[in-house]
Symmetry: C2
Subunit: 211 residues, 2 copies
C-alpha cells in the first residue's frame, strides 16, 4: 500500500491521525497541492478529481476520500475500533462525524478558500481551470462555525468524546476542523468550556501531532 498525502492539508491529516491511533505506518508520496502537483497528468491518473489523500492498494486499486480510506484501514485493523462496535454506536459515530463535516469542516474550508490570497481563483478544490472566490461565503462560514461550536460544546457537556464514551473518528474530524478553523482565525468561543476540556484531552494524545 501507498498513501498519496499532503501533510499540511486537513483531509490528509484526518487519515494521518487515524493511522497514528491505529499504530500503523504506510509509505507516503507527498503531493504538494500548494504547488498544483495534484493537476499533473500522472496524478490525475491516480485521482481524476485531483484531490488528496488517495490510498493505493497493492493490486493497483485507488481509494480516494478520507473516510473511505479510514474505513478500509478499520476493516484491515479493527482494533482499536474508531468507527464503533455495535450498530447503534456505529450510527452515532457516523451522525456526529457528518455533523462535524457539514457544519464545521466545510464551513472552515469555505472561509479559507474564499478569502486567502493563496487560494485566489481556487474557491473549490480539484478544478484545474479555477473557481472564483465568493466573498460572501466567508461571513456565511463564520456564522456556521458559531453554530458548530455551540452544538458541539453542548454535546461535550454530556459526553466525554464527540460520539460518546470512546474516542472515535468523529473526534478526529472535529479536532482537524478546530485546527483548520484556527487558520482563518476562528477559535472556539471563550464560553465553550466543554470544547476546551475536550481539546485538552485530544491534544494530549500522541496522534494529535499528525494535525
Amino acid at each position: 500500500m501507498k498513501l498519496y498525502d499532503f501533510k499540511m492539508a486537513p483531509n490528509p491529516q484526518r487519515v494521518n491521525m487515524f493511522l497514528a491511533e491505529k499504530g500503523i505506518e504506510i509509505p507516503t508520496v507527498e503531493i504538494n497541492t500548494r504547488e498544483r502537483a495534484q493537476f499533473t497528468e500522472s496524478f490525475k491518473a491516480v485521482n481524476p478529481i485531483s484531490q488528496v489523500p488517495v490510498l493505493e492498494l497493492d493490486d493497483g486499486t485507488r481509494i480516494s476520500e478520507s473516510m473511505a480510506i479510514c474505513r478500509y484501514i478499520e476493516d484491515l485493523h479493527p482494533d482499536p475500533a474508531l468507527f464503533g462496535g455495535d450498530a447503534k454506536e456505529k450510527a452515532l459515530i457516523e451522525m456526529w462525524s457528518r455533523r462535524a463535516e457539514f457544519m464545521g469542516y466545510l464551513s472552515a474550508a469555505d472561509m479559507l478558500r474564499n478569502s486567502a490570497p493563496v487560494f485566489e481563483d481556487r474557491g473549490l478544490p480539484g478544478v484545474p481551470g479555477g473557481v472564483p472566490q465568493i466573498a460572501e461565503l466567508v461571513e456565511r462560514g463564520r456564522n456556521s462555525m458559531a453554530r458548530f461550536f455551540a452544538l458541539f460544546d453542548d454535546r461535550l457537556g454530556t459526553a466525554r468524546f464527540v460520539a460518546g464514551d470512546a474516542f472515535s473518528v468523529a473526534d478526529i474530524t472535529t479536532f482537524v476542523t478546530v485546527r483548520f478553523a484556527a487558520r482563518v482565525e476562528v477559535e472556539p468561543p471563550a464560553d465553550c468550556a466543554n470544547i476546551a476540556r475536550w481539546l485538552g484531552e485530544v491534544e494530549s494524545r500522541p496522534s494529535a501531532t499528525a494535525v
Copy 2:
C-alpha cells in the same frame, strides 16, 4: 422504530429508497420543512439542527444524517448488502457515494437554495434565523454539476453501477442527485450516454418510486 420523514425532500428520499431496496417499512412522522415544521420546539428536541430525516429507536436514541440511518438499517438487515461486502468493495462504495454527495448533491442543493423564491433567506438548511441566499453559488453549482456528470458518465462507461457490478447506496445518492438537479432544470448533458443507460436501469427498479 419511527422515521421522521419528508417525502418530497431529497435526503429523506435517500433513506426511503434504501428502505425500499431492503423491503422494509418503518412508521413515519411527516415533518413538512416547507412549512417550517423542523423549527418547532418539539422537533428541535428530536434533532437540535432541525433537519430530516431522523430515525428514532425504541430506546429513544435519535439518529440523524441519512447515511448514518442507512448504515444502521444495513447492520440490522444485511441483505442485500448496499454498503458492500469485503473491505475493498466497502471502500469503493464509500468513495463513490462521497463523490456523488460532494460534487453532485451539494452543488444541486446550492443551486436550489440560493435561487428558488421558496428558499428566500434559507441559503442553508436548519437555521431558524435564516441565511441569505448567495446568487453566485448558482453558477458555481452549475459548473460543479457539469464536472459531476462528466466524471460519472466516464465511470458508468466502465462499470454497470456507480461503485461496480452491484447496485449500492452510491447509486441511490447518485440517482437522488440527478432527480434533485432536475428541479433546478439541470439535466445530464445529451452526450452522457452512459448516465442515460444507467438511469434507465435504476428507474426500472421498484425502489425508484421513493424518489
